[in-house]
């Protein structure tokens, strides 16, 4: 619904389309300046942290996977990392590599879904992926095939495509043989080609002129494009260990959102996700992905959030190439998991979910009962940054008519692939102009 008067307008979107979950946007403009802007998350709170209390230390991978149908592996891996840290256990070798392979599957599936079905229609003038498919069936089919390969990795390593059942603290219940991984290799070779075509396709889109100056934050590890851990670093010199996250990040409740808003202490809003990962770690991408990014005209200095779709496509290339390397080097471990004995203590863990850094913290009693749990998902970290971008974008584009402005705002929100269900502890857009 839109109201307009000569000096003021209100734009609102009551249910933002093509995002994961339910949220709204409200913008009030007076004399061309943004007076009020809210990204409203209205999905009911889900209380996961509360009902983890009192459960066994072995249960979070299965319980927290239920937070999201798109990125369950991220929840499982951050949970495992945190609990293993609390118990003084390190999982490395082929089990660590299998975890990365599983995670590659999730990145491929989640990014392919977002690029093809949720975000690309914005750039090509279609209302949705079905209208896009009516004119470009082969392109949408390519996206669905990519997504399917991601699913197949989850099914083989995780036991099923949604909420995998084969993940446990310490490793897996069952690990695949080399022979079982072989068919996946063929599928990934096809996916790698489709991913490279995806980069070429999306890099040809027209991108609105816009750039932000947000602090970009992502994990960094010494030897790989960080996914399963590392230190948290930023474009402005942040460099912290996993146990120090809650000393640097504050979460606060905002009246218009059931998701908490996160800020870096004394630094303000920040952005996690593909643009941040690429800005900080581009040199660690697989060579195929690095070359594709360069050919697509990307550089680590990229600050136009609309070009995040290109970064996501590059990350699909990376995930396919990385998955192939893991499969080629795989040696079946003797045991599917390492033994993890509970002990009293606190453990923190983080990984790079498709949408950005996901942090877990568990406090365990000596018998393994969970005393306290905290989960900070990427979308609640990005929510203030999305509002920051919307504020500046609306002010820079206030001359657009309501429909055009509303469309661009929705597109901008989709740049961040917000996962509202993950964040509710969110989109309806309204703009008011006076």
């Amino acid at each position: 619904m839109t109201h307009r008067s000569p000096a003021s307008r209100t734009l609102k979107v009551d249910a933002i389309a093509r995002v994961e979950g339910e949220g709204a946007m409200y913008v009030e403009i007076h004399d061309g300046r943004v007076h009020d802007l809210q990204l409203r998350i209205y999905e009911p709170p889900r209380f996961f942290e509360a009902f983890l209390r009192g459960r066994r230390f072995t249960e979070p991978p299965d319980i927290t996977a239920r937070i999201c149908g798109i990125c369950p592996v991220a929840y499982q891996m951050s949970a495992c990392n945190a609990i293993e840290a609390a118990c003084g256990v390190t999982v490395d070798g082929p089990l660590h590599e299998l975890r990365r392979l599983l995670y590659c599957g999730e990145w491929i599936e989640s990014h392919a879904l977002h690029v093809y079905l949720l975000h690309a229609p914005d750039f090509l003038g279609y209302e949705n992926a079905i209208d896009l498919a009516a004119d470009h069936a082969a392109i949408v089919e390519r996206g669905l095939q990519l997504k399917k390969v991601g699913n197949e990795i989850l099914e083989l390593i995780g036991g099923r495509a949604i909420h995998p059942v084969n993940v446990r603290v310490g490793g897996f219940y069952r690990v695949p043989t080399r022979r079982e991984l072989k068919p996946l290799r063929e599928r990934l070779l096809m996916a790698l080609e489709a991913a490279l075509e995806t980069v070429r396709w999306v890099s040809g889109f027209e991108f609105p002129e816009f750039a932000h100056e947000l602090e970009l934050v992502a994990l960094r590890s010494a030897d790989t494009y960080a996914v399963l851990g590392g230190r948290l670093v930023s474009t402005r010199g942040l460099d912290i260990a996993v146990d120090d996250f809650d000393a640097h990040v504050v979460e606060e409740h905002i009246a218009h959102s059931t998701a908490l808003h996160a800020h870096l202490l004394e630094r303000g809003e920040y952005l996690v996700g593909p643009l941040a990962r690429y800005a900080l770690n581009a040199s660690q991408l697989a060579p195929e992905a690095r070359d594709a990014a360069t050919t697509a005209g990307l550089s680590p200095a990229e600050r136009n959030p609309f070009r995040s779709i290109v970064v996501r496509a590059v990350e699909i290339v990376h995930a396919c190439a990385d998955a192939l390397s893991i499969i080629d080097a795989y040696e079946q471990p003797d045991h599917p998991a390492v033994a993890v004995e509970p002990r009293a203590g606190v453990g923190c863990g983080w990984t790079e979910a498709p949408r950005g850094t996901l942090w877990h913290r568990y406090e365990l009693a000596a018998d393994g009962t969970i005393v306290d749990a905290r989960i900070v998902p990427p979308t609640s970290q990005n929510q203030p940054a999305i509002e920051h971008d919307l504020f500046h974008f609306v002010e820079a584009n206030a001359t657009l008519d309501d429909d055009a402005l509303r469309h661009r705002c929705e597109q901008l929100i989709r740049n961040y692939d917000p996962c509202i269900s993950c964040a509710t502890h969110f989109l309806d857009m309204r703009v008011e102009r006076t």
Binding site: A17, N128, E141
Partner: protein
């Protein structure tokens, strides 16, 4: 690919939303069902399209919440050329969490990946709360739908 696929859509842990999977359970013990593929899905459109693409007959069972008919009421739709009979298929009405069979059928049509024939059974539910038990009217409807599907399949044999 050819043959018959029966797709049960739903969440077994949200009571009557588990009507589709419950029909699969009932068919799994049926002799008729041995020649058909039984697939349990969450309703995500791409997976639905994958499950039914190119088969002779696809039968989808899902729970309904119209609040316009009594719990346990069964609606059968033989989807012809007009996928609009399945309701809003724009896929633009809401976030990805609200996409359904109508969206999947529209996507399948756009991609040329539909079954030769698509039949959808909708079972009006009463209780979509947490838990595994179906309400009594839906339990009865599940038995009825399984029998009708078995007859439907026997009819084409």
């Amino acid at each position: 690919m050819s043959g018959v696929v029966v797709i049960g859509v739903g969440n077994r842990y949200r009571r009557d939303d588990g009507a589709g999977p419950a029909v699969l359970d009932a068919l799994a013990t049926d002799v008729v069902a041995r020649a058909v593929r039984l697939v349990e899905l969450d309703g995500e459109p791409a997976r639905l399209v994958d499950a039914w693409a190119g088969v002779d007959l696809a039968i989808v069972v899902d729970a309904l919440r119209s609040d316009r008919t009594a719990p346990g009421t069964v609606r059968r739709v033989d989807v012809g050329d007009d996928v609009g009979v399945l309701g809003d298929s724009s896929g633009a009405a809401a976030g990805s969490h609200a996409l359904g069979i109508g969206t999947a059928a529209a996507l399948g049509r756009a991609l040329g990946r539909m079954p030769t024939r698509l039949i959808v059974f909708g079972v009006e539910g009463a209780d979509f709360g947490h838990g595994e038990e179906l309400s009594q009217p839906v339990r009865r409807a599940v038995t009825d739908v399984a029998e009708r599907i078995a007859a439907e399949i026997a009819g084409i044999g």
